[in-house]
């Protein structure tokens, strides 16, 4: 733990979990979609649902979806700003079972029609965990440069990804593999110590069996 997790972050109140963490969930979701958002359906669960209004959780999630960071003065006005920018936002209750008490399920449609569904958990002290992407379980914070590869569940894809990283001198901090079923869709989440160059990502996108490459760089982040 860094001392700036103790003194910090600089954030808009009132709650590091229900406000700052919620902004970060929205921000990571937007960066995963990687384009402006046409519509967002935000479903809340547990304490987010029960005490979210008083904590500004909804405003915080929308602020993140607009690309704001947890210290942005405009967070209280985010819903109005979303309206001005033509981003349609709706809220509801998430039908999840035994999820983390501070959970948001976010369904996004981008301006080009690209779709994404993210389930994010706010763990306290503004730390977050992305627990699901497009229905497949994941487990990452977005603090490190993170590569997410959707691919068909077939031999060789892990080695293609790690070879590319080795070639680019990128060290792997953590790596997780998930699949919906044997031979079905799989997701690789690779958290790295260094940024991955754009040409490496482009190379991955062209590989047969790779369905989608998403990259979460470090410096656009909030911490």
């Amino acid at each position: 733990m860094s001392i700036f997790d103790i003194i910090g972050p600089v954030m808009v109140g009132p709650s590091s979990s229900h406000t700052a963490g919620a902004v970060r969930i929205g921000l990571v979701a937007r960066r995963l979609l990687d384009e402006d958002i046409r519509s967002a359906e935000i479903l809340l669960y547990g304490s987010f649902l029960a005490t979210g209004k008083g904590h500004g959780t909804q405003k915080a999630l929308v602020a993140g979806l607009l690309g704001m960071k947890p210290d942005d003065y405009r967070i209280p006005d985010s819903i109005k700003i979303a309206e001005e920018r033509g981003m349609a936002v709706s809220f509801g209750e998430a039908a999840l079972k035994e999820a983390h008490p501070n959970t948001a399920q976010i369904k996004l449609v981008g301006v080009t029609g690209k779709e994404l569904e993210v389930i994010g958990e706010s763990l306290g002290g503004s730390r977050i965990n992305i627990a699901q992407i497009d229905g497949i379980e994941t487990n990452f914070s977005g603090d490190n440069p993170t590569l997410i590869v959707h691919n068909l569940d077939q031999p060789g894809h892990v080695s293609e990804v790690t070879s590319m990283l080795a070639h680019k001198s990128v060290n792997v901090a953590a790596m997780q593999l998930y699949r919906s079923s044997r031979g079905g869709r799989a997701v690789m989440v690779v958290e790295c110590d260094q940024e991955i160059p754009a040409d490496g990502l482009k190379w991955l996108e062209r590989i047969e069996g790779v369905l989608k490459v998403t990259y979460l760089g470090k410096n656009e982040g909030d911490k």
């Binding site: 733990m1 103790i6 003194i7 600089v10 109140g13 590091s16 209004k53 209280p76 306290g124």
Partner: protein, 289 residues
């Protein structure tokens, strides 16, 4: 050299003949792989963000629930009336603690220290001190490192979140962090800083987290002023040469064990304590969040 306890920080200070704040800074340099200037300037930014948040207090703001707002101004007026009970420093610290905590409840920008709920305590103690005694900013930043080191040890060995350890983990930790920093500003020895931290945390042990409607407002805003006053009182005890019978790391250990045995109703769920009173129920019905 990395520390996991207050005693380890004190040992490193003694063995390497460096001050407490520098142990914390050098550990940060190594852990984040940054140079001394970057570490120090990042902490300066945190201090300045606290100053900015303090000066941006807006007495007209109300929180979404309507429970919070305007009390910092009342304290300010009372302090200015020339008949305050607490003396100049304590009165100003209380005023700043309430103002910062109100700003937080009203979705203004603050610095979590260690949490948003306890964001008023450290700036109240430090900013008031600088305002009254015109201390150099570098010295204030050094004091921030002292409080960060104390907070780091508490987070590693106990809790800093109300949901995990009750209010003792939030306001209690903030108060301990502020007390150590204040002893440093007063020229206290490392031992006196550790004693101040121990007194402050001991005085807050057992404090539960029972916010009305689960919101960071009642009793949190006023608890920030209590945490600030407790920090000043604890630094005063330490500077007078009084020794804590319980070692600082043992106090932190006790805080963790007390937190573990606290029922979940009293850990930020809004179900027990003050949150379960008739008054709270009336508020809940009135605001219908």
């Amino acid at each position: 050299m990395t520390y996991n306890s207050i005693q380890e920080i004190l040992d490193i200070c003694q063995n390497n003949k460096i001050p407490f704040w520098r142990v914390v800074l050098e550990t940060d340099m190594r852990e984040r792989a940054v140079c001394e200037t970057e570490s120090f300037e990042t902490m300066r930014k945190m201090y300045r963000a606290m100053c900015e948040a303090d000066s941006n207090y807006d007495k007209s703001l109300k929180s979404e629930s309507g429970m919070t707002g305007g009390d910092g101004e009342k304290l300010h007026i009372y302090n200015m009336s020339g008949k305050n009970l607490c003396g100049e420093y304590v009165s100003l610290a209380m005023e700043k603690a309430v103002k910062m905590s109100e700003s937080n409840a009203c979705m203004r920008r603050i610095v979590a220290a260690p949490t948003a709920g306890a964001c008023g305590v450290i700036p109240a103690v430090l900013l008031s001190y600088q305002e009254l005694y015109h201390t150099e900013e570098n010295k204030m930043v050094e004091a921030m490192f002292v409080s960060a080191g104390i907070g780091n040890v508490i987070a590693m060995n106990a809790y800093i979140a109300g949901a995990s350890g009750g209010c003792q983990a939030e306001i209690g930790s903030a108060s301990a962090m502020a007390a150590g920093a204040l002893a440093y500003l007063e020229g206290g020895s490392n031992r006196q800083m550790a004693n101040a931290m121990s007194f402050a945390l001991k005085n807050m042990l057992g404090l539960v987290c029972d916010p009305v409607c689960g919101l960071v407002e009642v009793p949190c805003v006023k608890r920030n002023s209590a945490g600030a006053v407790n920090a000043i009182a604890s630094a005063q005890l330490a500077m007078a040469g009084i020794e804590s019978a319980i070692k600082p790391d043992d106090v932190i250990d006790a805080m963790r064990r007390i937190g573990n045995s606290m029922p979940s109703e009293l850990k930020e769920t809004g179900q027990g304590g003050l949150a379960a009173t008739e008054s709270a129920e009336k508020i809940r019905k009135a605001i219908e969040l």
